[in-house]
């Protein structure tokens, strides 16, 4: 039963370091395979259409990348400018060096503003710092309002995709989880299920004291925070409650107000193929005198949590990510294993870089290898992040941290053989002869001894009956 399967999947509820068993579980989950295929095919088609139908999209993506490169090379300066702009507007800026500090700051703001009910719009950064348990521990109710995130909150699960967090759910499993939450038996059709969500969440918005959001961008020049949503919950979260808190990684700052359209034009196209997401909310300070709605108090929490550790290294490029999810949709590995298998908050190719860097290279040994290095991620990325380069960089880092004598010996031998053509020819003949008992239809599916490590997870092409060199000689006598 898919419904119970999702409810009991341990990898859906907790971050973990069990990559291999999680992958096996995902591959065996038939409904998940259907959902992943549907999602990634649809969004990738959107990505190709979005960029393909847009003249100069490639040059615009280069420009966005250049703005990010420039900003990261002057990040200290732009953060100080952002702070000054927000102070000028009457907002407050807080600095959180790690997840614990971020939680403390936000819980303190909630208490100081006497907030009893907090609504949240979708934010991966708040997932990253595990914010909700800390707010609940302080006796304050917190409600996710993105529809997918809301379902995950009441199912006690975590997101499995950057922009489609509940992709692992079916309409049946949503009807069950939501039905239990509201104490009614619900029909399975998406429209009714969505409207039940609207009804429940409207009541929360009506009563909420504080709204917590992430930030897609923040403009140093003006102190502007930008939220992009399709549902409108980002608007509600910043319009109805009297306090607005935005939690943002330091890399999300951009210099100028006129930089925004450069990114807005590529963000939705990269994510879904839309020209723009339905709602782009551009917030500059609190409500002005005479205005009837909007937050009266604004706090921006700037989060480091490992980012400065990356900023000074060749992995700096990973901080250009605008969290659109395109690399997930493009990745042949993500498309089969889904988000929960990766173990960290961020999944897919970009997660395979961020999780080892922020969490631990040693504890996540498989992630840099969960890629065929085909480059589809880089081709789909709106800011053209060279993800394959960094995955290889992480593999190097792993090797430096824990050199393997077997690997050194193997590559040493390989290099020696390649430099001696007669030896290469001999080795080819021997390997053909040795592998014959294990080969079928041109593939080696099960090798003994040291080879078993390879064939337990992938096939190896068997040496051809006649080598390329022999055939070349025949054709060119």
């Amino acid at each position: 039963m898919p419904t119970t399967e999702h409810a009991t999947n341990p990898y859906a509820t907790h971050e973990h370091h069990d990559f291999v068993p999680a992958v096996e579980r995902a591959l065996a989950d038939a409904p998940l395979q259907v959902a992943l295929g549907r999602l990634t095919d649809t969004l990738m088609a959107g990505n190709r259409r979005g960029f393909g139908s847009f003249a100069e999209s490639s040059q615009l993506r280069d420009q966005a990348k250049a703005i990010k490169e420039h900003t990261l090379a002057h990040l200290d300066r732009y953060l100080e400018q952002l702070e000054a702009s927000i102070h000028r507007l009457g907002g407050k800026v807080h600095y959180a060096a790690d997840a614990e500090e971020a939680r403390q700051i936000i819980v303190r703001i909630a208490k100081e503003t006497n907030s009893k009910l907090v609504v949240k719009s979708k934010s991966m950064t708040t997932e990253e710092v595990h914010l909700n348990p800390a707010i609940e521990a302080a006796g304050i109710e917190v409600v996710e309002t993105d529809y997918g995130e809301f379902i995950l909150q009441i199912a006690n699960e975590r997101p499995s995709h950057l922009v489609a967090p509940a992709v692992h759910h079916t309409r049946e499993s949503i009807a069950k989880v939501l039905g239990e939450h509201v104490g009614e038996k619900l029909p399975n059709d998406p429209k009714s299920l969505a409207m039940v969500g609207r009804r429940v969440l409207r009541e929360k918005f009506r009563k909420a004291d504080m709204g917590i959001t992430g930030a897609n961008f923040a403009v140093a020049e003006t102190g502007t925070v930008v939220l992009v949503t399709n549902e409108g919950n980002g608007r509600l979260t910043t319009t109805c409650p009297r306090v607005h808190v935005a939690l943002m990684g330091i890399e999300k700052v951009i210099p100028r107000f006129t930089d925004l359209p450069v990114f807005l034009k590529i963000l939705a196209r990269g994510a879904t193929g839309q020209t723009l997401s339905v709602y782009t909310t551009v917030i500059t300070g609190t409500r002005r005198p005479g205005e009837q709605d909007g937050a009266e108090e604004f706090h921006l929490v700037l989060l480091d949590n490992g980012r400065t550790k990356v900023l000074g290294t060749p992995f700096r490029e990973s901080l250009q990510c605008i969290r659109c999810g395109a690399c997930l949709n493009a990745c042949p590995v993500y498309r089969r294993i889904g988000g929960h298998a990766y173990g960290g908050v961020y999944s897919g190719p970009i997660g395979s870089i961020l999780t080892p860097l922020y969490d631990s290279v040693t504890l996540n040994p498989h992630l840099p290898h969960a890629s065929s290095l085909c480059g589809a991620c880089q081709a789909a990325c709106p800011v053209k992040i060279n993800i394959p380069r960094m995955l290889i960089g992480l593999r190097e880092l792993q090797h430096k941290k824990k050199p393997s004598r077997l690997e050194n010996w193997a590559y040493g031998t390989w290099s020696f053989v390649l430099r001696h053509p007669w030896l290469y020819r001999a080795a080819l003949k021997v390997s053909k002869w040795l592998s014959r008992p294990f080969s079928r239809d041109g593939w080696l599916r099960k090798l003994p001894a040291a080879g078993a490590g390879w064939t337990s997870v992938r096939d190896f092409p068997a040496p051809a009956d006649r080598s390329f060199r022999d055939r070349w000689k025949e054709m060119n006598p």
Binding site: C240, T284, R287
Partner: protein, 242 residues
């Protein structure tokens, strides 16, 4: 060292460390790259894009046609509670008494003083007293009628800017939103909007909230089936007048 100082010192060190590799790019500045514009006919470009996004554009040949369209939408939804924004074009299209003639409809103005739209005065005649809108009014409303700041032809986008008489709720809380725009408010490209609101020596800051609305509220969270109206309005109309 305070948290702030330590935090920024960390950033400074990391920036310097990373920059040592050299090749520090300058800001590329504003360029024409990616400017798509709207071609010869911005109105038709807007209508095409807005329709693709799931919205309902209507180009009115005159004010009367615009009013008939508004009336039709109100009647079709069997609307009871309307919140209405303030503006010159609003007074022109919906003169005194027109809305309140729709029997059983209560109208609430977004004007700060409870005045500013003639409807609020005539409502008393049919015993639907005009009120200044409060939070509960917006939560209880069925339909919002607003003016707009701009339309963007390239993307099919309605742009709202906050003002005392044009709150965010009017285009957010009712399930149906009617936006009234004038032809002259159409901008060809998204770049044009941000150029207009970019701070200059004269204007220090953009409005408290600029909202770009491109179609009805959407979610695909349930098996990727498109559902509209999950949070914001499920139906968005733009009526374009001269």
């Amino acid at each position: 060292m305070s948290t702030r100082e330590a935090f920024l010192a960390n950033v400074r060190t990391a920036v310097a460390e990373g920059n040592r590799a050299g090749n520090i790019p300058s800001h590329p500045g504003r360029s024409k790259v990616g400017y798509q514009g709207a071609g010869d006919d911005p109105v038709s470009k807007f209508c095409t894009e807005f329709t693709l996004a799931g919205g309902f554009p209507f180009v009115a040949e005159d004010d009367d046609a615009a009013w008939r369209k508004i009336e039709e939408i109100i009647r079709r939804h069997n609307t009871k509670n309307i919140v209405i924004g303030v503006g010159e074009v609003m007074d022109r299209l919906i003169p005194a008494g027109r809305l309140s003639d729709l029997v059983g409809t209560s109208i609430v103005t977004c004007s700060d003083s409870g005045e500013g739209n003639p409807n609020t005065k005539t409502d008393k005649l049919i015993n639907l007293s005009p009120r200044k809108a409060d939070k509960e009014t917006y939560f209880g409303s069925d339909l919002g009628i607003s003016t707009v700041e701009h339309l963007i032809a390239e993307t099919g986008t309605v742009v709202m800017a906050t003002r005392p008489d044009q709150p965010r709720s009017i285009s957010l809380l009712p399930p149906v939103h009617i936006a009234i725009a004038r032809r002259s408010q159409i901008l060809p490209d998204l770049f044009d909007l941000f150029d207009l609101f970019s701070p200059t020596a004269e204007t220090s800051s953009p409005p408290a909230c600029l909202t770009l609305i491109t179609g009805p509220s959407k979610t695909g969270d349930i098996e990727l089936k498109l559902v509209t109206g999950v949070h914001g309005p499920g139906e968005v109309h733009v009526i374009i007048v001269d």
